[in-house]
Symmetry: C2
Subunit: 154 residues, 2 copies
DNA sequence: TGGGCGGATGTTATATTATAACGTGATCAT
DNA sequence: ATGATCACGTTATAATATAACATCCGCCCA
């Protein structure tokens, strides 16, 4: 299910990178935001806001929905987390510096969401947007289907 | 805001085409489904389930949420309507026979969602899916930004 | 040094979106 | 005509998200 061998590492790396990005942009990477990002990464896959809420409750006392949503908004706006609209779920961005080029292959069987960065698709999108004089600001590309592993199974 | 000059026509055309498609596929295009599709088209843009609900109430008595959602599910499954996940809204499909190739340019200013059919994007997506051995079943591509008209304004 | 500003979080309440579960009625093939 | 299946009605509630206002905290600078 993972593409990172030692899962702790990928969480730590993500946090480290987030720290650096926020520092560089003069954003406040608060305790809460850090905690939320950490949890998102620990889930290693699309995770629902209310699931995060529950998990946070065990670490910090009595977190309420707006608190989680605000942290998620911050992380999303700054490219550290993606919202997967078709699932109402959130997932850590593996390529925060190429964030706008990312899209997802979402397996309906196992729930895994593989993040891909592909400039062909991005440039095809940019091209049609240009043709229509449309100023694209955000692209949501979510491909659902069955991943390699799950196709094997049956 | 529209790309059809006489708006009545495009609603009538969509209903006509839906009728034919359902007949060809031996699907039941019931009164309710017809009514919902008609309303979606009349809105001529992304419309929320609960807004439909309200409008239906004026035509048919006391419609409840599951009724609308079931009709929308039917229409969505059969390619007559798209769900725009990033807006939690629904919109009539202008190209029901090329439905899987459609995507949207969504203006954050005026709310218009222009439907496009573009095989470049579709084939770019298909290519990466193939490379990853991913069996794509559904593609959600939603591009938000500002449309030509709204860029002019300010 | 303390006062005020702005951003982050806490808190309460509620809005919005969607579905589960079960009952009833219509349709259709045999 | 009867049983199977699908569509729809109905009640209740689940799941997702935000509005609005209070409080806290760091920071600037008078």
């Amino acid at each position: 299910m993972h593409n990172c061998t030692t899962h702790d590492d990928c969480v730590a790396d993500a946090l480290q990178q987030a720290e650096e990005i926020c520092a560089a942009r003069e954003l406040r990477f608060t305790e809460l935001r850090r905690k939320v990002l950490e949890l998102v990464w620990e889930c290693h896959g699309p995770v629902k806001a209310y699931d995060l809420l529950e998990k946070l409750d065990h670490r910090i006392a009595a977190i309420k929905p707006p608190t989680v949503y605000r942290a998620l908004d911050f992380l999303t706006e700054n490219g550290l987390v993606h919202k997967i609209s078709s699932l109402n779920a959130f997932v850590g961005c593996s390529h925060p510096l190429r964030h706008p080029e990312c899209y997802f292959l979402i397996c309906t069987e196992c729930g895994e969401a593989e993040e891909c960065c592909n400039s062909d698709i991005v440039s095809a999108v940019a091209k049609t947007a240009r043709e229509k004089d449309f100023k694209a600001e955000q692209i949501t590309l979510e491909i659902s289907g069955r991943c390699r592993e799950c196709q094997k199974v049956n």
